[in-house]
Every structure is written in C-alpha cells, then in structure tokens.
C-alpha cells in the first residue's frame, strides 16, 4: 500500500509513486479520486500483466502463424476454426484468492467470469473444465472445507447455467493449504459468422453503450487489487472483496446475449469482470480507437447513494456491456425485455478518443481511452532457488516395503485415487454432446452436432514436477495434456495456459514463472501447437507459513477427432487381448507420488521431455489409429504404468498377467521401473493377432514399444520379470481403495 497526496488529501493506493507520476504525465494533471481508483485497478498486476508481459512476448503470434487460429492472446478468449463453418472459443483463468477466502462464492464467480469471456466472443458456452489445488485432505479440516465448497460452488453454478463440466484435475499438496488454486476453463461453440459479429471493441462512433444484467452494488470493489497481493491473516477482512454469484441471472444473460447477437445489431461486446465498468468501457473504446460519454445516473445500482468511485470500480457479477447500432436499439432492448433482464442505455460512443464519465451534470472522469491500458511494465529479477540443488540430488531410499503394499498405498493416495466424488456432483451430460463418460477416458470429448467431428480437451500439470524443474515440468504438462487427448484419438490443435505462481517481486518466485514460460514456448514452437491465450496469477503465497505455492503453469489442450470410429477409450475391451507399453521408462522418480506417499520425500530428478521422441510416438499412435489397431489407450500418469493398467482393468472387473522381462532392460531398479512418472508413455490394448505387426512398425519408427501382458478375466494383476519375486495384486481390493479414499474423508 502506497500513501499518496492527491488534491490535498492523503489516499492509500496499490500503485507505486513512479506509476502515479506516469498517471500525471498521461493526464497532464493530477487525477481525481475516481480516476486514481480506475488507474489503480487497471494497472494492477491482475489487469495489466505488468510483470509477466515482457516474458509472455516470447510466445509466437498465433494468429499470424496458424491459419486455423481466428483469435489469439489479448482477446477475451482464443478462437480456432474447426471446419464445417464452426469455431471454438476457449480460455482459462484463475480465481484463487477469492476461493481461498470464500470457497463457495469464489469458485462460483470464477465459473461466472469465464463463461462471460466465452460469451463475449459470440459463442455458446458448451463445456467447463476445472483444475484445482488444495492442501492434503487427511486430518486437515481447513483443506476439506475449501475442497468441499469449491466443488459445490462449481457444481451449483455450472449445473444451473446448463454447461456441462467435462473435465478437470486436482492435486493435494501442503503448499496449497491456505492458498488453494481454483482455475476455471470454458469452451464455447459458434459459427464463424457468430464470431465475426462480436468483437470486444467499440470501433464505431455514434453507437449506444448498454449495460445489461445484474445491478451494480458495493461488492467486489477492488477485487483485482486484492488478487494482486499476497494473502495474509488479515485477508479474512477482505471477504467483502469477494463477489456473490447468481447463476440464474447468468443463464438469462447467456440466452439474452446470444439472442441479441443474432439480431445483427450488436457491434461490440464486453463482460464486466475484474475492474468492472472501468475495465469494460476503457477497453471497448481504447481498443476500438473511439471515445465515449457515460452517464453514471443511468447505471442501475443495488443500493442508493453509491458514488462515482464505487460505481466505476464495483465488480458486481452478471453484467455485460453492449455496443449497439443506433437503428437496432429497440430490437436489442426488446430481447432484454423478453428475458426480463435489467438494462440501461448508459452512454454513446464518439470519435473523441476520450472516456468521459458524468454524474448528472458534473464530469467525474475525463481520460484518454487508451491511457488506462498503457500501464508500465516491470522487468523482474529472477534467480534459481538455492534449495533446488540439494533437492535434485536426493537419492532414492532403500526399498523398505513389500511392493504390493506400496501399490495399495499408492492407489489409495489422494493424488491417485478416483475423483468420482467430484465429477458426480457436476452435470457432465447436459447439452447432449458428451460422448465419453467420466472415468472412461483421459479427456473430455464432445460431439459437434450436425457434423462427424468431436472435440477433446484436457487440463492440468504436475505441480510437484514443476517445483523441482519448472522448465521440464511445464513441457511435461504439455506432453501429459496432449497425451490425454491423443489417447482418446484427438489431434492437438491449440493450448491456453493459466500461470499460478508466487510473488513476482521475489526473484526465486519469478524464476519459476520465467522458466515455465520458456518451457511452454520451446515445446509449442517445436510441436506446432498454437498458444491462443493465457492468464497469470501471481502472489500465490502464504505469508503466515512463508511459503509460495508449488509452481503451477496450468495447461489446457484442445484437439479434434474426425469421425466417431476414431474415438478411443480407456477400459480394456476384451479378455485375451495383448497389453503393450509405448515409450521408455527412465530413472525419473523426482517429484513422484511414490516418493511423497511412501517416503514423504520432496526431491529427486523429475521427468524430462524429449520433444523429438514424443512427436514420433504420437505419429506412431495415429498410424495405428488409421489402421484401427488400438482397442483401448490410457496415458501413463501419476504412480507409474502399473497404476495405469489397473485403471484400465477396473471397469469390467478384469485383470492382467504382466511379464516385464523384455521391458526391464535398462538397468533400472525395480521401483524405478514401476513408479517413475516418465512422461509421454501410453498403455494400449491390441488384438493379439496384430501384435507382431505393431511391434514391427515400432521398429520402423525407432521407438520403444513392448508387449508386457495380456488381459485376463480374473480381477488380479500378476507381475513377473522383476529382480524380486513375482507377485500378485488383488484388483478388487485396489478398486475398493481407489474408490473410497475421498468419500471416506469427506462424507462423514
């Protein structure tokens, strides 16, 4: 907090004295209190990306470099052309701080905000995905409370608005205990025409500015500045900075907005999220190279007596701003009347390039419309944390347990066990597009009705891996998310990311951000994946415990499947089929669940990505798909490939006889082979008569593919070919452990 003297009064702001100087330079005078508040909000880290912008410039321009990208970073959402006249809009963002203080409404309004972003592109929201992070649940009522109400907040809001939640990811780790992460992603579908109708700018003078939706109240004032500092014990007092969601109004806004766009009279569209009316009006006019006159007396408020500062900075939910052609005003207002949505014409655009806000007769804001987006940037210091060297040199402890006991412990661990408790609370079927059921695939898959196209989406990253090596951790996240949709038959097209890190003013925290961005950038350029959007959330630290969260560059990948027959699912399809592993297992136990669950160890060398090899593996898989050779596929993730195989057995209560002799040839320890989380591996099920053909093809591709077993009708996994004696896992027992962990902790 900085203390400034403005017009003879002392005021507290988040901006620095240097930034205040720049405000005065831009205005050529001192700002009044309302103007100062507007600059303070728009120049906050959350709105201006002032710390991250210099680094994010590394990403290539998606619109220029990919012909199917219609909108890239900088817009409300990325948009890609998926053919047949359809476009997909998608975006991910964080709602961490509000959720850490008030989990139910924090999460709910996170969903509300991301839905509006998609709507702004003219698309109908058709899917939600929510990656989450909490402290460990066991013996921790605070983590359980956050977890329970975040999930309920997402469910109540998403279910009511009729948007299926088709995917997500969750990790539990003590670094997220008080600063949980709630990232929300939304996918929208529209025609390419719809998309053209709804630019998020007011480029035409003489158009009406209409505010529609919820009323403006005193909630959420300075929500974004709250998001741009570290949570402390005092943050509980910031609870009024958390907005209250109203999914019913949101559903009405969705329908009214889409119907208004269809009239053809809407020329621009912007949601009121962070920064409220300030952000919406300044971005519409600033980006459109126009100006506007806004009359605050026209804004419908929730309570009387709100002053200009409060109205301009309120972050009350469920509001949209429309720019409407004069001749279409009545038609658009008629749509809003049908849905009984509050609305008001609050102003008109002009060619002055100045944003003027009136309170009755008196002018309360008079600033160049581009000024608010011209925040200064900061070049932050970065430094590799000194503790990493020691952590990376962690040796694998001596194996001190029976292997079967380790598996039973792992399958029951919070990060590996079934997440059914969560997804059962989400309506994942509404919209009649969800063609693969939760638990049957690695990604969420939706049909595009009227075509034979399907989209697949997956979101997540491994925070433990990123903590030890953010560069390879971020790349690993990309491999993992791509792997998830490829396992289901989809070709990756584009990615959006949500960077969750600590305080950027601390060099070690900024280093994590910086290295993650470099990892994502290098990987996406090499593998030709378009980065079409991103969001940065800094200041995720716990001041009381003095720790930052584990670095979490959350990644969402969206891809396309052409033809229903090309959808592949995870469960084994028939007894007697062969089980093959694709990709090499390396001695990469760093950051593994094996280390943390069995030894309570944080350290070791985490998996590294080999882009060249990964690409060949993906090409190989698509070659198999083309020839209908793959019956089931599951990407290998946390806990290693035996866990992967167990998950493939569960649905039909089958099992597998595994012989690892041929695969166990790299001189690895048994536990390294079984529990490494080397990225880019898949387990596939194939008809045994095709096995030789597939293995021969793998030789041509120069990749490591081995037959390691067969599907059997009994619910057990017998494993041989290790240095130690053969052993058998009881899959019924494993399934029971897998299913019961979260319900046992939560349903009491």
């Amino acid at each position: 907090m900085t203390k400034l003297r403005v017009n003879g009064k002392e005021v507290g702001v988040e901006m620095t004295k240097e930034e205040f100087g720049k405000v005065k330079d831009l205005l050529k005078r001192e700002p009044n209190i309302t103007e100062l508040g507007m600059f303070d909000v728009m120049w906050s880290e959350h709105c201006s990306y002032k710390s991250s912008r210099p680094k994010l410039r590394l990403f290539e321009n998606a619109e220029e470099n990919y012909d199917y990208v219609l909108a890239g970073p900088g817009q409300d959402a990325g948009v890609i052309n998926i053919g047949d006249g359809y476009a997909l809009a998608f975006r991910i963002e964080s709602h961490n701080h509000p959720s850490a203080i008030e989990p139910y409404h924090g999460a709910a309004t996170g969903i509300g905000g991301i839905i509006r972003d998609i709507l702004c592109m003219g698309a109908r929201p058709i899917a939600l995905l929510d990656p989450l992070r909490f402290g460990l649940l066991k013996d921790n009522p605070h983590s359980q409370w956050l977890f329970k109400y975040v999930v309920k907040g997402i469910a109540d809001y998403g279910n009511c608005t009729g948007i299926p939640t088709i995917g997500g990811e969750v990790e539990f780790d003590e670094s997220f205990e008080s600063n949980c992460l709630v990232n929300v992603a939304c996918i929208g579908l529209g025609t390419i025409e719809d998309f053209k109708h709804a630019p998020s700018r007011a480029y035409n003078p003489g158009d009406y500015v209409i505010l529609m939706g919820g009323s403006t109240g005193r909630d959420g004032i300075h929500g974004v500045t709250f998001a741009s500092r570290t949570l402390t014990e005092m943050s509980e007092a910031d609870r009024p900075a958390v907005q209250i969601g109203d999914p019913f109004t949101k559903k009405m806004i969705i329908e009214a907005t889409l119907e208004a766009i269809k009239t053809g009279y809407v020329r621009g569209l912007k949601d009121l999220g962070g920064g409220g009316l300030t952000c919406a009006t300044s971005e519409l006019t600033g980006d459109g190279n126009t100006g506007a006159n806004i009359d605050l007396n026209k804004v419908f408020t929730r309570e009387p007596g709100m002053n200009s500062y409060e109205i301009m900075l309120s972050e009350s939910q469920e509001r949209m701003a429309f720019i409407v052609k004069p001749e279409g005003l009545e038609t658009v207002l008629e749509v809003f009347r049908k849905y009984e949505m509050n609305h008001a014409v609050i102003g008109k655009t002009d060619d002055s390039k100045i944003l003027k806000v009136f309170d009755g007769e008196s002018i309360v804001v008079n600033i160049p419309s581009k000024a608010l987006s011209e925040s200064p940037t900061f070049i932050r210091q970065e430094k590799e944390p000194s503790y990493l060297h020691k952590l990376l040199n962690q040796n694998t402890p001596k194996l001190n347990l029976q292997l079967d006991d380790i598996f039973y412990k792992l399958i029951a661990s919070e990060n590996i066990c079934s997440k059914e408790w969560i997804y059962r609370q989400y309506d994942h079927e509404v919209g009649v597009r969800s063609v693969v059921k939760c638990g049957d695939g690695d990604s969420g898959i939706l049909r595009i009705i009227g075509t034979d196209k399907f989209i697949a989406a997956s979101v997540g990253v491994n925070s433990k891996h990123c903590f030890l090596d953010p560069y390879h951790g971020a790349k690993g996240g990309l491999v993992e998310q791509c792997g998830n949709i490829i396992a289901n038959g989809a070709k990756p097209m584009a990615m959006v990311n949500c960077c969750n890190f600590g305080n950027p003013e601390i060099a070690e925290s900024f280093w994590y951000f910086s290295r993650s961005v470099e990892g994502m950038n290098d990987f996406c350029r090499k593998l030709r994946i378009a980065i079409v959007g991103g969001n940065v959330s800094f200041y995720n630290e716990d001041e009381v415990k003095k720790i930052a969260i584990k670095a979490t560059p959350m990644i969402m990948i969206v891809g396309l499947i052409e033809g229903e027959k090309n959808i592949i699912t995870m469960p084994f399809k028939n007894v007697g089929n062969d089980i093959l592993i694709i990709g090499e297992t390396k001695a990469e136990l760093g950051g593994s669940e094996y280390y943390s669950v069995i030894y309570n160890l944080e350290g070791g060398v985490p998996p590294k990505v080999d882009e060249e090899k990964i690409h060949v593996i993906w090409d190989f898989l698509f070659k198999l798909y083309e020839n209908d050779l793959v019956l089931a596929n599951h990407d290998v993730d946390k806990g290693g490939f035996i866990i992967t195989i167990a998950e493939m057995c569960f649905k039909n209560k089958w099992g597998a006889n595994l012989d690892l002799t041929d695969y166990h040839t790299n001189g690895l320890r048994d536990d390294e082979l079984l529990f490494s989380e080397s990225v880019g591996r898949f387990i596939i099920e194939v008809n045994s008569k095709n096995t030789d053909k597939i293995l021969k093809l793998a030789k041509d591709f120069h990749i490591n593919v081995k037959k390691i077993g067969v599907v059997i009708p009994e619910s057990k996994l017998s494993i041989k070919g290790l240095r130690i004696d053969d052993f058998t896992l009881d899959l019924e027992k494993m399934k029971k452990l897998y299913d019961s962990t979260i319900p046992d902790l939560m349903d009491i």
Partner: protein, 236 residues
C-alpha cells in the same frame, strides 16, 4: 397430419434445447421452443417441460415455474387428454403444480448426482410408455440435487397404478444400491390418474441416441415414440 409439440422454455430451463434436438433431429417431429409467457395450448398436441433450474430453483425447485401462465395452459391440455411430460425440473414443476402426486426432496446424499442408472417400467399404459413392456429395464442418466421422491399416500399410488418407473439394477433388482437419491420405494417416475401426464427424474432426451449411452442403447427414444403413438391414436 402433422404433430406439433411445445418445449416450454422457463427462465433457466437448460435441457430445453436438448429436448428440441431429440424431437426435431432424432424423432423427426415438429417441436418448438416456446417462451413460458408466450405459450398458448391451442397450437400444440403435446408438451414437454424440460429439465433445468427454472427461476434458479430459488425458493424451492419448480415452485416459481408452477405459477407461470404456462401452467394454466398446460392444465387445459391435460383436461383435454393431451400428453404432458415433465423431465427432472419439469417433474418438480408438475408436482408443485399438483398435476402429479408427491414431492421431490433433497437427495439423501445431500449432493447433486450425475450418473447413468437404470429404471424398470412398472406401468406401460401411459402416454409415454405404451411402446415399452412392463418389466423392461432402461439405461438412462440422472442429474439432480432434489430428486428424492416422497409421498404420504404410497398405498393409493400403488392401487391406482400411478408408479411408472422404479430405480433398479441393470438386472432389474430393486435395492438401495440402485437408488441414486433415496427415493421412497425406489420411485423414479409417476403419472396422473388419466395417465396422460408423467413426470420422472431421469433424462430420456439424454438417452435417445446410442452415441451418448455407455451401453450404446437408445432407450430414451421409447418415451418420445410412445408420445407420438399416443398423439396419433388421439387424432385418428
């Protein structure tokens, strides 16, 4: 003879477009989305009250919609013998409007539940089950927070043959494991005395195409085939 079906769009109904998709796109009949305040019964041969969260389910699920003018229009249709189905929130609306007996309470788990379950046909004489056989087990999903059926008049319901569906296992066994919400007597759907109005918590419109079903079945279609058959018989 062209059949015309209305899908009533209450504010925040959210399975309205899904019902339209199935009726128009899968069944090939003419169905129209009608805003609740604009609905006039004379134009239609049947009505679907779709799932969703009408009026945000504020106050109590279905109660505000039960006071919409659309309900008065629906009453006329019912008296006239035309078919009316309430799916999920539509079922809640029909019980709140007292067109159907009983009430739907919060799930026993206190949580929303979305999953594929099974229901067994108990009465195949209604406007929406005439293409089914008694004892048939259907694959169909549920998605609701308030679906626990309750009545203080179970005996009468049984005597009048008003229980249309009960939750069962895929093998047709009743039991607590097959009951997703704690409904009394595993009741999933009921009808009025005239059997032209039914309400159920599961979603037939989500189970009408093999591609959406984990079992590649399309049992939901039977509801709409029955409805069309019923309308045809009435009109002929």
């Amino acid at each position: 003879m062209s059949i015309k079906i209305a899908v009533i769009q209450f504010p925040a109904a959210n399975c309205d477009l899904d019902a339209i998709h199935v009726l128009n796109g899968v069944m090939g009949v003419e169905a129209q989305l009608v805003w609740h305040n604009h609905f006039k019964e004379v134009k239609y041969d049947g009505v679907v009250l779709p799932g969703g969260f009408s009026f945000g389910d504020y106050l109590r699920a279905g109660i505000i919609a039960a006071h919409s003018p659309a309900i008065d229009e629906t009453r006329v249709m019912l008296k006239d013998g035309r078919p009316v189905i309430g799916i999920c929130n539509g079922f809640q609306i029909l019980t709140e409007a007292q067109f159907l007996p009983g009430a739907l309470l919060q799930n026993e788990s206190l949580k929303f539940v979305c999953k594929w379950i099974n229901i067994k046909v108990e009465n195949n004489q209604t406007a929406f089950t005439n293409k089914m056989k008694t004892g048939d087990v259907l694959d169909i999903p549920v998605a609701h927070g308030e679906g626990r059926y309750f009545t203080d008049n179970l005996k009468e319901l049984k005597e009048n043959n008003q229980i249309v569906f009960r939750y069962s296992s895929r093998n047709g066994e009743y039991g607590d494991n097959a009951n997703p919400n704690g409904s009394m007597d595993n009741i999933a759907g009921v009808c009025n005395l005239d059997q032209n109005c039914i309400g159920l918590m599961p979603h037939p419109e989500r189970a009408s195409e093999p591609i959406l079903s984990p079992f590649k079945t399309s049992h939901g279609k039977l509801f709409f085939e029955s409805m069309i058959e019923f309308i045809k018989r009435r009109l002929s």
